[in-house]
Symmetry: C2
Subunit: 237 residues, 2 copies
DNA sequence: CCAAAAGTGTTATGTCTACACCCATGT
DNA sequence: ACATGGGTGTAGACATAACACTTTTGG
């Protein structure tokens, strides 16, 4: 029996194992996706998700943060495994199983630090270019998952700067769900979680009156990572 | 650029890609897990999830149904990708990335047809033996996911025979959530979905009065695979 | 002073929860 | 006739959804 099993290991064909990151950002108005240009075979200059290979001594999580760091020089990013894609012909060069991770970053944190070695660009979710391989499916699944997560967990904050206003947050949720929300209901629901701390400072320049900044109550946020809100808008029948 | 990329493919280390199935069943009283005995190195006679290797020409989904079929001779089983486990040392023999799928089957469908080549056995979720590798983590994640799914989607039916009674269904949900539910609220909520069709036939033998059988309205069930119930019990604060 | 966005309360509606009694039948 | 599980209704609490006016201030 023991030998049988060890022989089994030897006779199996191995696959390349890749990672691809669906990187969402928010610029205050629109939900964005970060893509890189990748030339490969006759798909030269196709836009693609940021990806890489898993290294012998690293876990999948480690690999995906490393790859994200290589592109953005950001660490401590919200990163979650999404789904694994392994259709035999998904990569025409060679069979590759790809584990997709989805990441949320604040566009402002990123913008300056962008590594020059990648041709990377933010795209509006409404105007995505054609994507490499099955990356379109990955993005589709990621947006679904983002909607679910945002409705159940206070995950939306990950996409905003440390200090943010309620109207900014509302715009973010409107962008994620592709719908309009009532600002009175929105702010009441949100504040009722007691996860937001109101600051004395107001946002200047955007509106005349100015909106108060809030920050997150990190402590409660960590503890209370369940039982959040039902943010599904009124017209979700 | 093109050559660079192709070279990259060649220089990457490949991994074994395995599949493991978390197979849930329900016997009318308890939620069960189907495990197989697997002797390997000094872990001989350890219980393990049913697993296998992905073959060169098959997708991950195909591989997991094939493996499930090999064990149960059942096809058309509810099967969903759960998570991919890839810690470098998770399999001491050789680095293996394992894609975990979770499956729901009706214990009655299975029992007779069980393939003799595997030493397989149903275990109560309360009395699981120690499991191989990181299979315990897989099971933990699977039960969490089952709870989520069962609360959001009419997925519980997959674990029951074609004809079932409301009390059976309630027992199933109680087993999944590890809690007691109010039968009046339960049946009202459930029937309000209009996904159940009441049959003329009554269950005999279990109770004196007998409970009516229901079956699922397949058509609606397929269409309405969203916006199901909030089944979280009253004490879920 | 006016335009533009911020901020705030109330009411009606629907949903959820808790709870208790009668029904059908096999023994 | 009685024990066992099946089946049903209601009232109070709570959450949601719809809705409009006042405030602030830069230009």
């Amino acid at each position: 029996m023991r030998l049988d099993i060890l022989q089994q290991y030897e006779t199996q064909t191995k696959c390349l194992v890749a990672l691809d990151s669906i990187i969402f950002g928010f610029d205050g108005e629109e939900l964005k996706l970060l893509l890189v240009k990748r030339g490969i075979e006759n798909e030269q200059n196709t836009w693609s998700l940021m990806g890489g290979w898993v290294q012998p001594e690293e876990s999948l999580e480690e690999a995906s943060s490393r790859i994200l760091y290589e592109l953005t020089t950001l660490s401590d990013i919200y990163l979650e495994q999404l789904y694994t894609f392994g259709a035999p012909q998904r990569d025409p060069v060679e069979r590759t199983v790809s584990v997709a991770y989805f990441a949320l970053i604040n566009v402002d944190d990123y913008d300056n630090k962008i590594s020059k070695s990648y041709e990377a660009q933010w795209f509006s979710m409404q105007e995505l270019p054609p994507l490499l391989f099955d990356h379109g499916m990955m993005v589709e699944r990621a947006i679904q998952h983002l909607r679910y997560k945002a409705s159940q967990h206070p995950i939306g904050f990950e996409l905003l700067p440390e200090k943010f206003t309620i109207p900014q947050l509302q715009k973010l949720y409107e962008a994620i769900f592709g719908t309009e929300l009532d600002k009175r209901n929105f702010s009441r629901k949100l504040l009722s979680t007691n996860l937001l701390i109101k600051l004395d400072e107001k946002q200047r320049g955007y509106s005349k009156k100015g909106a108060y900044f809030y920050k997150i109550d990190e402590e409660k946020y960590q503890k209370q990572f369940n039982n959040f809100l039902n943010f599904l808008p009124g017209n979700a029948s």
